[in-house]
Symmetry: C2
Subunit: 724 residues, 2 copies
């Protein structure tokens, strides 16, 4: 057995815990109502082959297994301890495990951080002692673990099949739900399950890493309410998703759901749209509905990816063909355009009233010859314009619907579909009305790894996930850019502002941006009549904007500190006086450094660029269209920094209103490359200056050629070590 | 039996066809591959109690029922004929039915309008003959009909249960899918099914009217690809939905789906968002996913409505509680805020670690006492702040999950839930992980009319449909307004334009609007220097816009016919000359009536109002926010005219970006009442002038007090009888 402090580089310590030679069950019980009974039952009934050490000072045996009065009394150091006792007893027991040489413990009890301040103190105490004595912790407040290929089942769940789906779920009921679904669909099996609970020590990133390394797992499936370390999870997800699919359902899509999640596991949910964007950036397949989790995991586990998004649909009824066409379009998939030859070959085997335009509708041809559906699938799969094949309709139910004698022909069809699925890289997915009845032909498909679904929506979402994953794996890989460094001027500006205990002034922010090649409008800071006159001359013939500059005034408009569209020295002089007077009245104590004069930016498309340091995900870049409507509709894209060029381009493409960037109503399109460069520069800036807590460029005006940053705001962190 | 020409007012002729005393099966066959065999099988096996007349010139009997050589030979006039023969034979056979006194025929054959021009001619011929001889038609290209309470089953579908769900589906496979789902869920039964096929004669409106009148049907459920007469359907839906729920799944949500539907039934799909808005306006419950059809129909059929949208969730696991909270919020439902007393009563029966904040999480309390879930449901149902109760989790599976001895307590819980559901008007809905296993406790719930679902998404969508229906039924009813009449000036303007064979000029359009009390900006049409000088004086001190007025120039900007923001007589004179020259160059032959001078509208919120006559739904009003983003995001609302005040208000509330109307970023809100009046006026205008084909007010600028119509375009129909 691998020791927990396995020195082999990159190997997760969890292998030792989740495939243990021996397990101590602390709190093992003969009382069927106790967790310590159920865990013992799961081990014994599940056929666990290692040694079980029930720990119970009052019993000689638990479920006929010899019991021990304490962990100190057992004859060897168990590889894993399962602690089934109440919260208050746990810190002490963890310490005793450490003394006995146990390297990992699973803590079932709730009543820790999720239960309030007292519980949080208890959790800290437990973690402190665990760290001190070298025990890694799963939980507390965990629903348990299983590893079916090792016959380790601490949940006492019955009727589980070993398979290739690994699951980590912050809800035990969700695991139960997946297990029951798997049972009802048949042929769907699991590898390892972990309930991370409060993630005191080990968290989602650790479990994902383990599933990534576990050879029995072909797809990692996670139900997540909140992360302990989101950045670590993204890093792990990026590594794992390069070799196997990672499926995540993230709860807390709404404020209402976030409150519920927080009361459940004490986890901070964070912004849902941001979380989804960052997970997808790391190659994760995010599903939006809980009833998509198992279908998508099954489909990705078996088929892994699709070469593209062009789907051919073979249907034996027009209604389902139409529904499939709708759902495919909504999911971002295309109905493949079939080649003339393909259509000819279809026409040769189908009735004349059949439609050979995709979605292909056999229009009754197969009523007494269902295996012809497989022939149609073979024909479309051979078309180079087709990336994936979806069969929708009655297949599997012909014998029942029409005549029992058709059962043999259906089975022949299933065999042909199995062969087709195994012969190339184009996914074959089946939706059947008869899936819930589990007829033999569909059983044959499932058993051979062809996914069969009982809802078109599921089948389409699987194809979308396969297409997304294919595109993710096919994306051009970019060489990592050189680490970003701060420039000399920027370093001084930041150090100076920090010294003065303030954020950057607008001209300072723009100077810093300019040092990173970010295009800002020409500007002049004026402090007296002479400088004002000079600015008026410099910008003669161009309308200008004037804005007060003060470390004590952040809402310049409220302070009457902004004037727009000014032309001519007289207008500038009047505006200068107005601004100084208004600002003085608004904040009599404010230090006023002057007034910034900039040319008015010509009309263009307003966009916004933001940067923040998220408490769980670290530096994140945000991009959106500006203006009031997008603020209301929240049409923005997020990516974790540092950005790749592909990430930046994807941010532009992701907006629902992206057509505005291409030019609408006769307006020209904007310079997307310039915006991509802007996002990359901003990402580098964030990397170079750990002292920058937040950055807002709002608005940036994008033009057919370049862009102009009209307003820039840079906030510094209070708690960062002196800026580099 | 009711005769088809039943003189009782308002009674659908379909009662005679769908509950017939006798049926002739034309093309009845002993060959199991033929439709004429399956139809006979359905009748005989289904236990049809009326007389069956198989028509087959070559057989003495079909399925042991005496056969007849032709319809002329049968000894009485059958109430219904089922025609199973190929398309080409149908017109002749319909005529023979008419001769024999048959009042209705069901045409199974395809190969009519959906198959191209030849088929369309055949369909016209069939309809012509049917009308001439008084035979009503179901189909052609229909999947058939059943009426389970009458034991009439022409589809030979097995294992159907009689029940209260009426179905009309343009896809036979969709009916099959619903039937199989119903079988797998248990306890879900059907009343009547009709496949409308091409709707040559009878269409969706007729079938819906029948289901509305049918006492065995508690919910009408329709799968629709396209309408033959959308306006008739809306009228019928409004009447039926006043007394029983109408559930519609409309396919063709995407262009891809519309093309597929059109190749399937030849139906024109129309705009999907418009169709959904109009259906909802008529009280229809529109479902977005095909796998919601049966759950929503079942839930609405059994529970009919909810008094409100505040849902209390009882959960035995945090994960599903959180998912339910998310889905409820997304569906527009609220988590009810539980009263302090309610929470105290919950706390008194639950463990201390349970959450008594909605969603209530029992946190293990019920593991050995599942009927306590019913107690919790009773407690929250008694809270006046709760409109509906949703149970999520393992109920029904406790015996299997924990201990078989719990089965009795689960059944006690089920009985208590049944009693609770029957005791008030608050819907009780159950989601259970164990629903697919159909344990006895869940069977008891279903059998007693408490819906049980196997996906949270379904359960939540049912509650949303119940809440929507409650709100629809509770909406204030408005007295019908007096019929709108054209004004004298408008009549002249329209008559004159029609006489000249042109649409209305902008000043004419605005004059017509003004006659209906619609606020347009003051404006002057100038045709020479004197009028221009007078206009300059009249608008002195206000910037103005100038626009060319010509019946031959519809794109004024393209023609250089627009100038904005002009001030002072000199500027106006220059702009006038420019516009006349540019327009002359752009269209040398154009008649130019002058230039319209209007004050520039002050800044406000841009909205658009449109009116069109849809080919299937008739006059429709459209409302949206103006500007480029909304054009891109297509955030608009539709209602069939004439509008009620409630309809108009709902259009404003429906926009995703509706917050803009309330004022964002410090801007004041707009005068919603004025916009509602505008929509009502526009609706009256459409009613008063059948000659108006299309009307666009774009933009209208909305203010905190009133609005201004900046541009108005009114197109007249070519083919309308002379305007009133």
């Amino acid at each position: 057995m691998t020791a927990i402090d396995d020195p082999s580089p990159g190997k997760s310590p969890l292998h030792a815990l989740l495939a243990p030679d021996s397990v101590a069950v602390i709190g093992a019980s003969n009382n069927p109502a106790k967790r310590g009974y159920k865990a013992m039952l799961g081990l014994v009934r599940g056929g666990y082959a290692g040694t079980i050490y029930p720990i119970n000072p009052k019993a000689d045996a638990v479920l006929d297994v010899r019991a021990w009065p304490s962990i100190d009394a057992v004859p060897e150091a168990p590889a894993l301890a399962l602690i089934c006792t109440p919260a208050a007893t746990v810190p002490e027991l963890v310490e005793s495990c450490g003394r006995r040489g146990v390297k990992g413990a699973i803590i079932l009890a709730s009543g820790f951080g999720e239960a309030g301040a007292d519980g949080a103190r208890l959790e800290e105490e437990m973690l402190r002692r665990a760290r001190a004595c070298g025990v890694r912790l799963i939980g507390p407040n965990t629903s348990g673990v299983f590893n079916l290929h090792h016959r380790l089942n601490l949940l006492a769940l019955d009727r589980l099949q070993p398979g290739d789906i690994g699951v980590v779920s912050q809800s035990g009921n969700m695991l139960l739900s997946l297990a029951l679904e798997a049972e009802h669909h048949g042929q769907v099996g699991f590898s390892t399950y972990v309930g991370p609970g409060n993630q005191s020590d080990l968290g989602f990133a650790d479990y994902l890493r383990y599933l990534g390394e576990d050879p029995a797992t072909r797809v990692a499936t996670l139900y997540i309410e909140g992360f302990s370390d989101g950045r670590a999870f993204l890093d792990t997800a990026r590594r794992v998703s390069a070799t196997k699919p990672v499926v995540v359902y993230k709860s807390g899509a709404t404020a209402q759901g976030q409150r519920s999640a927080s009361s459940h596991t004490g986890a901070l949910a964070g912004s849902y749209p941001m979380t989804v964007d960052l997970l997808r950036q790391a190659g994760v397949s995010v599903v939006s509905y809980s009833d998509d989790i198992l279908p998508v995991a099954e489909g990705l586990g078996r088929l892994q990816r699709s070469p593209g998004r062009r789907v051919a649909v073979i249907a034996d009824g027009g209604g389902q063909a139409t529904i499939a066409a709708d759902r495919l379009a909504e999911a971002g998939l295309e109905l493949a355009t079939l080649a003339a030859d393909t259509r000819k070959m279809l026409a040769a085997v189908l009735f004349s009233q059949a439609s050979t335009v995709n979605p292909v509708d056999v229009a009754g041809t197969t009523d007494d010859h269902p295996s012809l559906l497989a022939t149609c699938m073979e024909i479309v799969a051979a078309d180079p314009g087709v990336d994936a094949v979806l069969l929708v309709g009655m297949f599997g139910g012909y014998a029942r619907r029409f005549d029992e004698s058709l059962a043999d022909d259906e089975m022949r069809g299933a065999e042909a579909m199995v062969e087709l699925a195994g012969s190339g890289d184009k996914p074959v997915v089946v939706y059947s009305l008869y899936a819930p009845a589990r007829p033999p032909a569909l059983g044959r498909l499932r058993q051979a790894g062809v996914p069969v679904y009982d809802a078109i929506e599921n089948a389409v979402n699987v194809l979308a996930a396969l297409g997304d994953r294919g595109a993710y794996l096919d994306r051009p890989l970019e060489a990592p850019s050189a680490p970003a460094r701060p420039g000399p001027r920027g370093q001084d500006l930041v150090a100076n502002a920090r010294h003065e205990g303030r954020h950057l002034l607008e001209p300072e922010a723009k100077a810093l941006l300019a040092e990173y090649g970010i295009g800002v409008l020409e500007e002049r800071l004026v402090r007296d009549a002479d400088e004002l006159a000079e600015a008026a001359r410099a910008f003669a013939g161009t309308p200008v904007a004037m804005k007060v500059v003060s470390p004590d005034i952040s809402h310049k408009s409220d302070a009457g500190g902004v004037a727009l569209n000014l032309e001519g020295e007289a207008a500038l002089t009047e505006a200068y006086a107005d601004i100084m007077r208004s600002a003085g009245e608004y904040a009599p104590q404010a230090r006023i450094d002057g007034v910034l004069v900039t040319p008015m930016a010509p009309q263009g498309v307003e966009v916004i660029v933001g940067l923040m340091r998220d408490p769980t995900f670290g530096p994140v870049v945000m991009f959106g269209l500006g203006g009031v409507l997008v603020e209301v509709l929240e049409d923005v894209a997020f990516r974790a920094a540092p950005l790749s060029r592909g990430d930046a381009a994807a941010m532009l493409d992701q907006l629902k209103a992206r057509r505005v960037l291409d030019g609408v109503r006769g307006a020209p399109g904007v310079d997307k490359n310039a915006l991509i460069e802007l996002l990359l520069s901003v990402s580098r800036l964030m990397e170079a200056y750990p002292a920058i807590a937040e950055l807002d460029l709002n608005p940036v005006i994008a033009y057919p050629d370049g862009y102009a940053v009209v307003d820039a705001r840079i906030l510094l962190a209070n708690d960062v070590e002196s800026a580099p």
